[in-house]
């Protein structure tokens, strides 16, 4: 049966793999076993530095901050205020506590080594909506300022624009308030990024929680938030358990976020404690309502307050003290009654009824699924490297042994191998040419896939009804292109792998030569990486990989309409963006085609190069003059190396076996 593993076990696997890799490097030395070491190095580094991004989304007042606090086991985010920030709050583990706030003007404010209370107060100041502005769409106004950099004229058109985008009525009666708010806002006090590092309790070192600004009533999100969702490893959509039906969630999943992100959404129904008796019925109802959007095992019911009380108790806080907190008081009495009835210790009862016991393991398991796969791939690559090393060393050893016994036979065997490699090179030419015929030109599957892709997305983009839909199509197009690239590269790899194998087998008997290993899997990866590299920056910069071209398109077009009124701007911007997106996609396709062909040339080059290298090696062996002692020493060293490889391979097999039962 499959064993579910968590972060703790995952970290042990990572440490073990790093050890295995270090041994591999020392055994391998300078031998060319066809493995691209610099790429493998990067993969190991990525695994060690891996950070999991968990985005917490949901409507304003859905209980996101309390939920994050209960995950963090610390009440550090202000939960009793209406969050108004246009930026994302990133919360993560840091030995040194700090709060860093970046403003739209570029100004950065940093508070270091302070208490939790001070951080909470400052967050409250920058992220909460002042009471007097609670009834106007402050975030939307901030976004306008962020996009345009100047204060708009508050006329009927601007009001209509705000009403339409925020779903709020009667904003015309709030004109003075909107003006007064605008007077106070400028790029120097609008936050764009808030980072909170804190020494949370163990277990959260690799997670970055992203507290997203509330989605609007129709599930829409602003570009920056969209970009963060895009880079997340899991998205938790928070929604109160009653009423269980949420239009914003439906729209968020079905039309706002890209296809790729749909597979990482969890629906977390909060305030379950209030409806404890109805909880199971409501959960089943949610599973039925959202059956087409999300699998049933990714819908959970939780109560964040109950979890926080559980944490208080675990920290040794007395029930009397907990009761002093108004938000917790009634729950203490209620759950204690239930615990009494069921004969459960209080701390266990609070955790049990909080629902987190089910959610957390499911989330951990989901997050490490992909990295576990990567660990397996790395281990298999190392295994392939060892097998090739073993084969090369055995071939070398057999020649050394022949040389030791019979010099004449040795020279004959070397000549036979050299002829074999010459033949191999001539025959390999047919395979390289066949590759060109299969993968280039009108009739290649790659060209057909590109043509289909282009027609499909040209149609989608032209027919987009609004900017959000266009943005989603644009992002989906990027993902689909990644798939096309992946599929094409893997077809090219399998073609070479299979054809070279057949050729090698046919010449092996006659000439005793084998086709050297070319690690196509690694080649595939490096080409994919190369294609993406232009958009990648540091780990966090990945958040912007999608946003960069999109932002560029948008800013370029926005600039043209800077002086336009709000309502016409969006229509015109949509039209302009369509044009820009079509041009952009067409340019990208041309680049992708060129890069895939470069990759094909690179593959061909690698095959030619390795064949040449092997032939040269045999030639060198023939010319080397060796004393009997030197020959004996070399034989001993080779045998020793082969024994080490055997041992390491066994260790690797054990590692893979353990990984496979997870």
């Amino acid at each position: 049966m499959e064993k579910k593993i968590g972060f703790h076990e995952y970290k042990i696997f990572v440490t073990e793999l790093v050890n295995i890799y270090d041994s591999y490097l020392s055994v391998r030395g300078d031998y060319n076993d066809g493995i691209n070491i610099s790429l493998l190095d990067k993969k190991i580094k990525n695994i060690v530095d891996n950070v999991f991004y968990v985005a917490i989304a949901g409507e304003v007042k859905a209980g996101k901050s309390t939920f994050i606090n209960s995950l963090l086991r610390e009440e550090i985010l202000p939960a009793d205020v209406l969050q108004a920030t246009s930026s994302i709050i990133e919360v993560f583990y840091s030995k040194r506590p700090f709060l860093k706030i970046t403003y739209a003007s570029g100004r950065v404010e940093e508070i270091e080594e302070e208490s939790k209370k001070i951080f909470k107060e400052r967050l409250k100041e920058v992220a909460a909506i002042p009471d007097e502005y609670r009834d106007i769409p402050t975030s939307l106004i901030d976004y306008w300022l962020l996009d345009h950099g100047e204060i708009p004229e508050v006329n009927d058109e601007f009001i209509r624009y705000l009403e339409e985008k925020s779903n709020l009525d009667n904003l015309s009666s709030q004109v003075d308030k909107i003006r007064s708010y605008l007077q106070k806002r400028n790029l120097d006090n609008i936050t764009t990024r808030i980072e909170l590092g804190y020494p949370f309790r163990v277990g959260l070192e690799n997670i970055r929680f992203l507290d997203m600004p509330g989605v609007n009533a129709v599930g829409g999100v602003y570009d920056i938030a969209f970009s963060y969702l895009d880079m997340s490893n899991a998205i938790l959509f928070i929604h109160p358990i009653k009423p269980v039906e949420s239009e914003s969630f439906k729209n968020f999943v079905s039309t706002i976020i890209p296809k790729k992100n749909k597979d990482m959404v969890f629906l977390v129904l909060t305030h379950a404690g209030v409806y404890l008796e109805e909880k199971d019925r409501l959960l089943n109802e949610a599973r039925r309502i959202y059956a087409n959007l999300i699998p049933p095992n990714r819908i959970f019911t939780v109560d964040s307050i109950l979890k926080l009380i559980h944490e208080d108790l675990m920290r040794g806080k007395k029930l009397e003290d907990i009761k002093k907190d108004k938000a917790k008081r009634k729950w203490v009495a209620f759950v204690l009654d239930l615990a009494d009835e069921l004969g459960m210790p209080p701390e266990k009862a609070f955790l049990e009824f909080s629902g987190f016991k089910e959610l957390l393991p499911a989330l951990e398991n989901f997050l490490i699924e992909a990295p576990i796969l990567e660990l397996r791939n790395i281990a298999q690559t190392i295994h392939t490297g060892y097998e090739e090393l073993e084969r090369m060393l055995n071939e070398h050893l057999s020649l050394l042994l022949v040389r030791q016994k019979d010099l004449e036979r040795f020279e004959e065997e070397v000549k036979q191998r050299i002829d074999g490699y010459k033949r191999l090179r001539a025959e390999a030419y047919f395979i390289l040419e066949e590759a060109e015929i299969n993968f280039k030109g009108l009739n290649s599957p790659f060209e057909k896939a590109l043509q289909e892709f282009k027609s499909k997305y040209q149609e989608f983009i032209i027919n987009s009804r609004n900017i959000e839909e266009l943005r989603k199509h644009y992002r989906d197009a990027e993902d689909e292109l990644d798939e096309i690239i992946g599929k094409s590269l893997s077809t090219i790899s399998s073609f070479f792998r299979e054809r070279l194998k057949v050729l090698g087998e046919s010449l092996n008997k006659e000439y005793k030569v084998t086709i050297p290993k070319v690690d196509f899997a690694i080649l595939e990866e490096s080409t994919k990486k190369k294609l993406k590299e232009k958009e990648e920056r540091d780990a966090l910069g990945r958040a912007w990989s999608f946003l960069l071209p999109w932002r560029w398109l948008k800013l370029k077009e926005l600039f043209k309409f800077k002086k336009e009124s709000a309502s016409t701007l969006e229509k015109k911007l949509l039209q302009e963006l369509k044009g820009a997106a079509i041009t952009q996609i067409s340019n990208v396709l041309d680049k992708i085609r060129d890069e895939i062909f470069k990759a094909l040339d690179y593959y061909k080059g690698q095959v030619r190069q390795i064949l040449k290298e092997r032939e040269a090696q045999i030639e060198r062996l023939k010319l080397e003059i060796k004393t009997a002692e030197a020959l004996e020493l070399e034989i001993l060293q080779t045998e020793k190396k082969l024994t080490m490889i055997q041992r390491e391979k066994e260790r690797l097999n054990r590692f893979l076996e353990n990984l496979n039962v997870t």
Binding site: K422, I462, K571, Q575, G579
Partner: protein, 214 residues
């Protein structure tokens, strides 16, 4: 080394490919012309996109042609002696012919696409704008770029005398302009088809010569 019949078959196949690809280009460009995009963007886009598309198609057709030729050559030498194979390997004909075909003196360069009628008609469209300016005030700038936006403004304009006539006239002019553009593109593709065909034929000749030198 390559039989005459084989070469003729390849010439036929590549001509079919050329026809089908130019039909694809035409339908793609017409697809955009039919859509409600900003007219100025559309004009510039077609002028730059169509030649670029042709250039890309030319490269793909070149690879396709070399595939046909190389398949035929490989077929001929498959059962030949290793020394013959080695001479083909060394000659690296595909790369040599490709480099020649894409070289500065021989490369296919699409002609410039002129959308001759557009300036005049766009000028006339501008003449309509002041009339609309009176009718719909600040939103006038919007109508010049999109007939879709114009449609959305119709209900607001319906009470204004004469505005329906202006909109109708405007729409007809846009449609007429688009029809002219389609014709321009068609003529342009006809001219370039001939150029492309002659370029591809010269590649076949070059390949043939290279093989003969083996």
């Amino acid at each position: 080394m390559l039989p005459k019949e084989k070469i003729e078959e390849i010439e036929r196949k590549i001509l079919e490919d050329l026809n089908s690809q130019l039909a694809v280009v035409k339908s793609e460009v017409n697809f955009f012309i039919d859509k409600d995009l900003n007219l100025y963007f559309l004009r510039e886009f077609i002028k730059s996109y169509t030649p670029k598309l042709l250039e890309k198609k030319a490269e793909i057709l070149l690879d396709t042609l070399l595939n046909y030729l190389m398949s035929a050559l490989l077929e001929v030498i498959r059962d030949k002696d290793i020394s013959v194979k080695q001479s083909v390997v060394q000659a690296d004909i595909r790369e040599r012919v490709k480099a020649w075909a894409l070289g500065k003196n021989n490369a296919f360069n699409p002609t410039k696409l002129e959308l001759k009628e557009d300036e005049e008609i766009l000028e006339r469209l501008k003449e309509v704008a002041p009339g609309l300016l009176v009718a719909i005030g600040g939103a006038a700038a919007a109508v010049i770029v999109s007939d879709n936006i114009l449609t959305k403004l119709v209900p607001g304009l319906s009470t204004l005398a004469g505005s329906a006539y202006i909109i109708k006239q405007f729409r007809e002019r846009v449609q007429r302009l688009k029809r002219i553009w389609k014709k321009n593109v068609e003529n342009y593709l006809d001219i370039n088809k001939k150029l492309l065909h002659s370029w591809l034929t010269s590649v076949i000749e070059k390949f043939h010569k290279e093989v003969a030198n083996l």
